[in-house]
């Protein structure tokens, strides 16, 4: 866990969050990339045959789009957290609006409320135009998950 906190601190200092993204195996498998513009971060999910769920269109698997958007939300919140740590998902709800075609997908997250313990946010994912999103999501994250390490059953 020490290493994680160090990485978060380092990422805050350098402004390069890619090492943090690569820490999550599923994010690395999906090839998620991020670009920071000040406080704003845009995430990119590169097109890949491995992401497909519907081979007839072909279209990206809904789960891949969801996971990508969840990562976007998680990192946007992590970025804004006063204490280094990794936000932990509580719930995630998304609407699929268009088929995600076999091309690059982008996502951006807006934090609507960041409390001491819980953060809520919305995420938008698009391909060609931001005005034609392929999905939108809403999520809650636990921000002091480290303190809750007992995680009682």
């Amino acid at each position: 866990m020490k290493q994680l906190l160090d990485l978060v601190t380092e990422a805050h200092q350098s402004g390069d969050y890619q090492p943090l993204v690569d820490l999550i195996p599923y994010a690395r498998m999906l090839g998620v990339e991020c670009a920071c513009y000040g406080e704003e971060v845009i995430f990119r999910l590169p097109a890949s045959e491995d992401h497909l769920g519907n081979p007839t269109i072909p279209a990206i698997h809904g789960g891949v789009i969801a996971a990508f958007m969840e990562l976007t939300a998680q990192f946007q919140l992590t970025l804004q957290m006063p204490q280094p740590g990794l936000a932990k998902v509580i719930d995630f709800s998304l609407d699929y609006m268009r088929a995600g075609l076999d091309r690059d997908t982008f996502a951006i997250c807006r934090v609507s409320r960041q409390g001491r313990r819980v953060g809520s946010c919305s995420v938008l994912a698009w391909q060609e135009r931001k005005s034609k999103p392929i999905a939108q999501a809403r999520a809650h994250f636990l921000l002091d998950a480290g303190k809750d390490s007992a995680n009682p059953d």
Binding site: M1, Q3, L4, L23, I24, P25, Y26, A27, M29, E49, D50, H51, L52, G53, N54, P55, T56, I60, H61, G62, G63, V64, A66, A67, F68, E70, L71, Q74, L86, K88, V89, I90, D91, F92, S93, L94, D95, Y96, A99, N151, D153
Partner: protein
Amino acid sequence: MTPDLYTGRCTRFLNAQPHMRKLGIQLVKAAPREAVLVLPVQPQLVSDVLDTYLHGGVLTTLVDAASSVSTLCALDEFELCPTLDLRIDHMRTPVQSQPLYVQAECYRITRSVLFTRASVYQASPEKPVANAVATFMRPEPGSTDTAFRAMIEGQEHEATA
């Protein structure tokens, strides 16, 4: 429909999806309106830095897959139904050393929409890791790709004959 027909249909559907093959998600059980899938333990999803941390997105993918497969067990003929919306609640942190199971049920079938619920668990279904609900949109009649449908229904040879 017999259970074997559901099993064949669901297995072919999973195998036809590149991302399901990539994650190694497999069918455990197919019954009327119900499906159980498993995500086996695998090094590509395990992090040595984050001790017990499987990304929540993996569970969402698993839930979406199982919910979608449960719709296959609720319809007389194969229809390719896209997910309309999905909500997942994470109740526990899963452990990396055990496979993840997901049981999904398509509990309501209407002319246009299918409603599903799913539960993700590891050691016991009594202790769910996550719960989810989803809705799927039924395609308009005749809009599912004919060759793809034949393949999923295991009628490839008949279709080409």
